[in-house]
Symmetry: C2
Subunit: 336 residues, 2 copies
Amino acid sequence: MAPDTTCQWVLDSRPTGEPTMENFELTESPVPDPGPREVVVETRYLSVDPYMRGRMRDAESYADPWDVGQVMEARVVGDVLESNHPDFAAGDVVQGNLEWAEYSVADGDDLRSVDPELGPLSTALGVLGMPGRTAYFGTFDVAEPKPGDTMLVSAAAGAVGSVVGQLGKLAGARVVGVAGADEKTDWLTGELGFDDAINYATADDLSAAVGDACPDGVDVYFDNVGGPITDAAFDHLNVRARVAICGQISLYNAVEQPVGPRKLPKLIQTRARVEGLLVRDYTDRYREATERLAGWVDAGDVQYRETVTEGFEAIPEAFLGLFEGVNVGKQLVRLD
Amino acid sequence: MAPDTTCQWVLDSRPTGEPTMENFELTESPVPDPGPREVVVETRYLSVDPYMRGRMRDAESYADPWDVGQVMEARVVGDVLESNHPDFAAGDVVQGNLEWAEYSVADGDDLRSVDPELGPLSTALGVLGMPGRTAYFGTFDVAEPKPGDTMLVSAAAGAVGSVVGQLGKLAGARVVGVAGADEKTDWLTGELGFDDAINYATADDLSAAVGDACPDGVDVYFDNVGGPITDAAFDHLNVRARVAICGQISLYNAVEQPVGPRKLPKLIQTRARVEGLLVRDYTDRYREATERLAGWVDAGDVQYRETVTEGFEAIPEAFLGLFEGVNVGKQLVRLD
C-alpha cells in the first residue's frame, strides 16, 4: 500500500543563468487514490538530464516549460504499489515520465514494463533507456559513421556520448572523444576503446587540439555541448561531413543570447550536413534500439558507467552537477 | 584571326575588407599561338560572381586562391577565332572558365559548346548556366520544397535566388523572397510570382518581418547571404525544415571573423537539416538541369533578368557592385 503523503521537489522560481538550490523547494503532498487505469509507483531510480534546464525556462521549446509551483518531472524506474490498470500489478517494475517525488500516481497507459532480464534496473534510465536510444538513433540515423571515418564526440564521457563513441567503433570509425577531466579521457581511451580523447579543460587551443587528434579531419561530429568545442570541430570538417546536434549544454545557462563565430561558410566549402535530433521522433523503433543495445552490453561491446547519487533530498544537487561535469556516464538518483 | 595582344585584368593586391579598384590592374599581354588541342576565344560575355571574393583571399577553400599578379578568371561565353581542337571551329560559340581578358587561349577539352537554340547567348552564364544549375540542384536536391511548404529565399533578386524562388513555386511551395530594394521586391512579387517579399533594407526588425511574411513558419530556407537575414530565418524554422547554404555574401568582405547568435539549439528543437551546396558536385547532371531550365524558360515558367555592364574596362566595377546589391538578376559584362 502507498503511504498517505509523499515528498516532492517543486520549481520554486525560474533560474537566471546557472540554476541554484534556491530554484527548488521540497514539499510534502498527499498521495491521491489511484483512479481508473491509474497506478501508484514508488520511485527507485530517477534520471536527471540536461534538457530539464530548458523546462525551467519560460519559453517554448520541444518540451513544455514547467510552471513555477509545479512538481518537476523526470524519467523514473519504480515499483508498482497499487494498480487499477490491467497491464500492471503490485510488485511489477515500470518506468515512465513521473515526478521528482517518492511516490507518483500515473495513467498506466503512460508506463512501460521494465524487463529485469535485460540488465540492472538502473540501465533502463541509461544505456538501455533514453540516453542509450538517443545515442543509437543519433549515431545510425543522423551521424552515420562509416568504416574509415573519423568521428568526434563531445561530452564523450556523458550518458549519451559514451555510448555514441562505442557505437561509432562498432560502425568501423576512428573515434575521438572530448571530455573535461583526465579521469574521463582515461576511461574513454582505456575501457571504452576510443582511439583518442581531448581534455578540453587543459587544452590551450581547442581547434589545434582537434586538428592534432583528427589529422585526417572530421567526417562525423556528434555534438552534445555546443559553444567553443563545436567551433573547433567545425574548423576540421571534411567534405560531406555529418554533424548531429543532440545537445548544447554549454549554452543552456546563458543569460544573454550566446554569440560565436559564424561557421556556415564552412558548410559550403565542405557540403557538410548539420542536423538536429530528438529521440522521441523514433518512438516506434524504441524496441529495436533497446534490444540491440542490450545485446551489445551483454557481449561487452558497449560498456557503461553510472554516477549514482543517494537519496531523495539530493535530486537538485545531482541535477546541478550535470552543468559542472561531475558525472561520468549516466547521472542517476537512487531512493531507498 | 586573333590579334597579337589582349587586355587583361590582374589581381594587383589582396583586399582587406571590401575590395576596391586598387586591387585590380589593367594590363596588356601577347596572345600566345594556340598549341595542340588549344582554342583562341574572343570574350563576348563575362560573368562576375560573389564566390570570386574568396579567390582574392590567400586561404584554402573550395576554389583555389588567385596569386597576386595572376590574371583573374571568370566564366565566359565567346567566339572561337582559331582552333586546334577537333570539336571546335572558328565561328563556334563556346563557354568555359577563361580569363578577365578580351582574348583567351584555352585547352579545348575545358570548353563546352553553347547551343544558341536554347536561348540568348548571355543565358549560358545565367539562367541556363552556373547560377541556374546552382538553383536547380540546390532546390531539388538539397532544399526539397514540397507542396504546402513555406520557402524563404535570401538574395532572392539575384541570379540564383530569382530562379530558386520560381522553382519553389513550380514545386508547389509558398515562396517568400528577401531582397534589398523595393524595385527588387516588386519584381519578385510581380513578374516572378513570389507570394511575398521582404525589403531587408527598410525592415525595422528582420525576425519580425520574416514572422509576418511566413505566418506558418519556414519549412525551407535557401540561403545566399548569411548574417542577420539568416539569423532571422532560423528563428522561424519549422520542424524538419531544410536549409540550403549556397552563399554567404554578407560575410565575404569581413576583416575580422564574423560573429553572431548561436543558433544550433534551434536545430534540436526543430530537427532541421542545414546543408552546404556546391554546383560542381553535380557535373554529371548539368545537361539535365540545363535542358529542364530551358524548357521552363521557354514556357514562361521561369523568367529572368540580367544586369549587363558594357565594356571590358568595367569588369571590376561590375564585380564590386555585387556587394552593393546593384544587380537585378545575373550580373554580366558585355564586350564589343
